[in-house]
Symmetry: D2
């Protein structure tokens, strides 16, 4: 395969739990970002690199963002430390065509909330309960290769009401051991960009090492990718630009 | 209130379990249809009557169907005994504007399957498990007056994958004690008609005596009702009718 | 009717064209806001008042906003003059349950853009072309009482691509004389609030005096209204609140 | 590319206009089916063959249908001549995972109407008016490579209200010279299958020779294709199969 045809994925992580909590560092010696980038790079059509909060420009200078087809985002402790200007650039890049895959507690990340227009809040409880994710859109490419459901043995509970706009496609609904349900796999279009939110991924469990989870995220990257070429278009293109009358109807 | 402004509801029931099973007859001495019609009639804006399978024309002669704004449908044992012509009339009346509220095992009823275009099959298991219905569309009128969730103490399990078209609005998702989830409250538009499917209602449990369930069904009837007047229009109106060119664009 | 049961509507207008352009003042001697409030007040179930940009707190102090069930918004010249804090309060009030009806060029208003999460840009051209609005959701309450289409004899052109999230319900599609189409009547849910965008309403044409337009806006107010009572709930209710385990599944 | 990985497309055509009308035969010497199959076969990942109404079993014996990933369907004069059993097989095959691309007047074809659950009627007028198809979902793969709009110089008019269920994705809206609009590119999911309806294609105009139209149909075939492998599953799999209780929640 021509390397130029690979999808360029940037896996962004705030990378704080890994530094502060030995249990997390032990589960993810490469960081959550490194683990995800690694399994994506095992696919010949994907080229993934990592970026983290504490790097210059939060790891997302223009040189990186402009070379990213799909951005993954994991954050939890430090949503407010993401620079507003960087968050705005990510937001605009999605409207122009970049895919965005939002993981777990990044439901509260700045770019996601701005793209959704809602609070994105949910119930939660941390007791390591079992979650079972049921496929409710078996024909959607993000569900390719999955069975009727798959399980996360231990996970932080996220429950409804999840304050999101109605998904354009609802892929997974989670059953939670303690009595809740959750829309745990959701797709939206915003401008020319595609967005996928996926609930599993609490940092204290080895969730990103699970084969089913890796399959979902690999599918999601391919679904969210913009088509080649000429996809990225400035969102301000038509702003303040009165258009000429079409000749066919003036005669 | 002017009685002419009441919504005219017909509660249809195959009424077989009630005749065959003393436990069901004991729970529903009036039949499921009679119980539902009674609580609807407690509302001043609603006028409900019952109709059952074993009546002439399956209880739905033209005189009844043409005087029905919203039809409720409960069936289980005898879907195939519903006359095809009657099912077809119900189908067409929905496209012309009649509301349809489909209860429990009527997911396999002829008119519902024809309106959906899918098999409408689901997983099921009868062990009397607890169901908890979470509200995922709190701004929808069918959820008016409900809390974050309500429970059915004992119910037949229905689980995903539920083979339905994507609902136009998804109102409830059920958590099931045994490990399943279910899209248990779903809205669709078909032609000029509105359809609501509601999962609870196995005949061996006193589900239609629950206050929350009665509230949902009352809300659903009001939501599904056609607007006055001139709502019912023949679905064949434009068929084979070439329209004249609009004068504004010919000059 | 008990006056306490009336829906409380606030019609907000930047009210600048009316002050600056005698042609607009002549078309709308009461201002666009006054004209709209007047025809709404002709309905016994509605109680409308006006609010304008140049009033204290942009006409929307807490005392007004907290007593508003549905807010209408017309703006064009002065989107940037709306105080950020006021825009934020409107945004939050919608998530908590207030209806929002967004008119014409208010597609670029701060609260609407924040609720949508997109640029909300569109093509435009000002030549007074004819628009014809086709009803594509005849069963939706906002289309009650309309025919197959209605016309705006002269209107500023808005055309696709309209950079909005997929509407939860698409009610009207406009045909434009010069060759464009536009999704001119769109519904969304955000949190507990309902939003309707309606394209017609350029200030130099007597559009809000048209009967069909008045019918649409009257329908929209009733559709967007929150249900009584207990509807307005703080959006932060579940934030940072871990929930107890449900007893049924712990035993 | 491994030929086994090609998508298997069957282009079905009633093939009556071509036999009866010399003007149509002149535009489409290979038949509409042959023209479409030819431009699909120019793509290395696609393998298309044709099938027509007057062949044995309407050209769709099990050996063909079971080797079809995506079925295209053009019909107009002879919808009623399609054998009910064949139509039923097509319907079931879609629920099991086959893609279906429905062309022009096949909005009235038996399998499409059965999958939609509505009358699928629309306004129409045959005056060869210009149509302009606007892209309203620029991020959808069916719109890949298209500009903001493309035109059909002469086409039979189809206009709203188009009696279809709300599309899962609305891709194109047509502007019609005579004053109508039309949802001319619509996607739905039914069971495990994907369906795309595309309005252009009246037999007396060279529409399937247009490059933009060919691009849309090529995109549509790839979008509608089922994922490899294990995609086709019998729709009756869960019917009447009570499931065992999941062990995790019984202990």
């Amino acid at each position: 395969m021509n390397l130029n045809q690979q999808l360029r994925v940037t896996v962004w992580n705030e990378n704080r739990h890994e530094k502060q909590n030995p249990a997390v560092a032990s589960l993810y010696p490469l960081g959550i970002h490194g683990t995800i980038a690694n399994f994506l790079n095992a696919q010949s059509d994907l080229c993934a690199r990592a970026a983290t909060l504490d790097e210059a420009e939060n790891g997302l200078p223009n040189s990186v963002l402009n070379a990213t087809d799909v951005l993954m985002w994991w954050g939890h402790l430090a949503h407010q430390e993401v620079n507003d200007e960087i968050a705005e650039k990510v937001y605009r890049r999605v409207l122009e065509g970049m895919g965005l895959v939002v993981l777990h507690s990044a439901n509260s990340a700045k770019p996601f909330r701005k793209l959704m227009g809602t609070s994105c809040t949910a119930r939660w409880r941390e007791m390591g309960e079992k979650h079972r994710l049921w496929v409710v859109a078996p024909a959607h490419p993000i569900a390719d290769g999955l069975g009727d459901y798959f399980e996360i043995p231990h996970e932080e509970m996220y429950g409804e009401y999840f304050d999101i706009p109605t998904p354009d496609s609802l892929i997974f609904i989670s059953w939670v051991q303690g009595g809740e349900v959750f829309r745990s796999g959701c797709c939206w279009h915003r401008g020319r960009g595609k967005i996928f939110y996926f609930q599993p991924g609490h940092e204290t469990y080895p969730i990103y090492h699970q084969e089913d989870v890796q399959r979902v995220l690999t599918n999601a990257v391919r679904w969210a990718a913009p088509p080649p070429p000429n996809t990225f278009r400035p969102m301000t293109e038509f702003l303040h630009t009165p258009l000429p009358l079409d000749p066919v109807t003036t005669g």
